[in-house]
């Protein structure tokens, strides 16, 4: 994992490595653009009640195939419950779940063959070594041939940077938190997956581990896998995800692509200039809406491309020192949406 020169070759999608596309080759983003593909997961009217606690209520969500969807929410907002329902570990009180086109939990075996998941932390037997634990799960994977269990385990360990880790052959109970988490990730990546579900994957990891997880997610995305990631770390989602769903008190309060959500207040350009009044006048002259806020000129981009704004200012001779798209920032949006929700 710490040797980028090698990982590039090794972590290329297996179908490419073998030189022959298998029927199971994951749908690539470019192909997805040609033929519309059904979502990797679809939740409709989902409701889950534990005794008297409503954990989820009327949740509708599509996880687009090929996307990296970040599920954001505070602790106890229902993220894990949603993932457990999605994986058929738990039955919904009401509503429907579809995973890779299969109804859940009825079609669990067909769907889960192509799904890797790390939910509610890594789970392994304490008296077996990390490697033996992984081999036990590899033996339960339908797509792994019996003669290839050892190789499968080695490859998964390699992907999470544990192939040179001596502790992996000692009993799991003595493993460090980070090692346990990496092992959990390895279990989710035992076979090429069409969908990978990671519940707070960077828990217990050091900065290098967090970087590795981001790289892994990037690799999965590049290979065409869909990734569903839950987190309460906004920076993590902002850096790795293409799509975001925000969960608050058991309901989805916002969904969309990362860009859409970041521009939730409407697209606008923030312009730093020493002559804001001249800038505003130039914009008005071309009927581009704008105003001054905290010393910055804000140009509305709803009907105007940013190029036009900049060329307008340039031709009017307004000195522009910096211009960037305004981002509300996930944090601000998140706080606003979740505080409204509670």
């Amino acid at each position: 994992m710490s040797r980028p020169d090698r990982t590039g070759t090794i972590c290329s999608p297996p179908a490419v490595a073998s030189g022959e596309p298998t029927p199971d080759e994951p749908m690539r983003p470019d192909r997805a653009a040609i033929a519309p593909v059904p979502p990797a997961a679809r939740l409709r009217g989902l409701r889950k009640v534990y005794r008297r606690t409503v954990a989820l209520d009327s949740v509708d969500l599509d996880v687009p195939t090929g996307a990296v969807l970040g599920l954001l929410g505070r602790n106890g907002s229902g993220k894990t419950t949603m993932l457990r329902l999605l994986l058929g570990l738990s039955r919904p009180t009401d509503g429907t779940v579809e995973l890779l086109g299969e109804p859940m939990p009825a079609g669990a075996c067909r769907a889960l063959t192509h799904v890797g998941a790390l939910v509610e932390g890594p789970g392994f037997l304490p008296f077996l070594s990390g490697r033996d634990n992984l081999a036990r799960f590899a033996a339960a994977e339908p797509l792994v041939r019996t003669s290839a269990i050892g190789e499968t385990v080695n490859y998964a360990l390699h992907r999470v940077g544990l192939d040179r880790e001596a502790a992996i052959d000692r009993p799991y109970r003595g493993h460090s938190l980070g090692l346990k988490q990496r092992l959990g990730l390895a279990a989710a990546l035992l076979t090429p997956r069409r969908l990978v579900i990671l519940d707070e994957p960077t828990n217990g990891l050091d900065p290098a581990g967090i970087r590795d997880v981001r790289r892994l997610i990037g690799e999965l995305h590049a290979a065409g896998s869909t990734v569903l990631l839950s987190s309460h770390l906004l920076s993590e989602v902002e850096e790795t995800c293409t799509h975001v769903a925000m969960l608050s008190a058991g309901t989805v309060v916002a969904t969309g692509t990362l860009t859409e959500l970041l521009e939730a207040d409407g697209p606008a350009l923030e312009i730093s200039t020493t002559e804001p009044n001249a800038a505003l006048a130039a914009l008005r002259h071309c009927r581009i809406p704008g105003y001054v806020e905290r010393g910055l000129v804000i140009a509305d981009l709803v009907e105007t491309p940013p190029e036009l704004v900049l060329s307008t200012l340039a031709s009017a001779g307004v000195p522009v020192s910096e211009a960037r798209r305004r981002r509300t920032g996930l944090e601000e949006l998140f706080l606003r949406l979740t505080e409204e929700g509670t």
Binding site: T22, L112, A140, T191
Partner: protein, 293 residues
């Protein structure tokens, strides 16, 4: 340097083309279960303790018979000078508490323990179907039960031979003696019958294991139940209940030591164990299907 790359490309061939298989081969899952179960530290401790049962009885008998021959306490004194009786006596003693306890530990670990470790989730996500998982786990518990009974029997035969002696024939409780072959057949009968009884306890324990995430709940429930059953069996007013109490049938193990072997008690208790097995497995399947993993 190129070795991992090779490994990676070989691995792609290791994965069968998708779409044609949604479950790992059953034999492979059973093999893994067989390899995993005996590696649990408590399974090993249980086996050692069980092996000590016939050894302690053998030692006790050989010491007491030296200075105090004559009538004594039932089965155990009958072992004196009668080594072939030791394995059967040891099975009877172990069946009173130790064997149910040990099989209960295995059954508690099988579902509740796996759930507590978070590994049940991993198996379900692999995916292993829930019903299949119950059968695999039942197989594992049965394997442990067989191993435990085999250890008691094996240690009993050895201890009988070495500590007690007189291993060339079996002196029955009826006073007759049977040859070595027939004696071994009786030991095998006793062992087989005991496996069935222990398996019945294991199935009930597995059912409770399917409904909880706490292994201790399984132990408390099954052992508590066994004690209550023992009490009910001992209350004269509750005589009518005895035919359905699993524990009440356990006394019929000593029938193996009579000549000829009276079959009624053994058959009834074996059938009863079968009923408990069916009930237990049904419960285990229902619990696992309903379970929130």
């Amino acid at each position: 340097m190129s070795e991992p790359v090779q490994r990676a490309s070989r691995r792609t061939l290791a994965v069968t083309p998708a779409g044609d298989r949604h479950a790992a081969p059953l034999a492979r899952l059973l093999r893994v279960e067989l390899r995993t179960e005996p590696r649990r530290p408590r399974t090993l401790v249980a086996l050692v303790v069980l092996a000590l049962v016939p050894v302690v009885i053998g030692l006790g008998v050989s010491v007491s018979s030296a200075d105090r021959p004559g009538p004594g306490l039932g089965l155990i004194t009958a072992v004196s000078g009668n080594g072939m009786m030791l394995p059967i006596t040891a099975l009877g003693v172990a069946l009173r508490l130790l064997l149910p306890l040990c099989v209960c530990i295995a059954a508690a670990d099988a579902l509740a323990g796996e759930a507590a470790h978070g590994t049940l989730r991993g198996l379900l996500l692999a995916p292993v179907s829930r019903i299949r998982l119950v059968w695999i786990k039942a197989f594992g518990v049965l394997a442990v039960a067989v191993l435990q009974v085999a250890v008691v029997t094996g240690a009993g035969l050895l201890a009988g031979l070495i500590l007690v002696g007189g291993g060339d024939q079996l002196l029955t409780l009826s006073g007759s003696s049977v040859g070595l072959g027939a004696a071994l057949a009786r030991v095998a009968l006793a062992a087989g019958w005991t496996v069935l009884q222990v398996a019945a306890v294991g199935a009930v324990a597995l059912a409770i294991s399917a409904f909880t995430d706490h292994p201790l709940v399984v132990l408390a429930t099954v052992l508590g139940g066994a004690i209550v059953f023992g009490l009910l069996g001992a209350i004269p007013a509750m005589d009518w209940l005895r035919p359905v109490l699993l524990t009440s049938g356990w006394a019929s193990l000593s029938d193996v030591l009579r000549d000829p072997v009276p079959g009624d008690g053994l058959t009834h208790s074996a059938l009863l164990a079968g009923v408990y097995l069916v009930i237990g497995m049904t419960g285990a399947i229902v619990g696992t299907l309903r379970r929130e993993a």
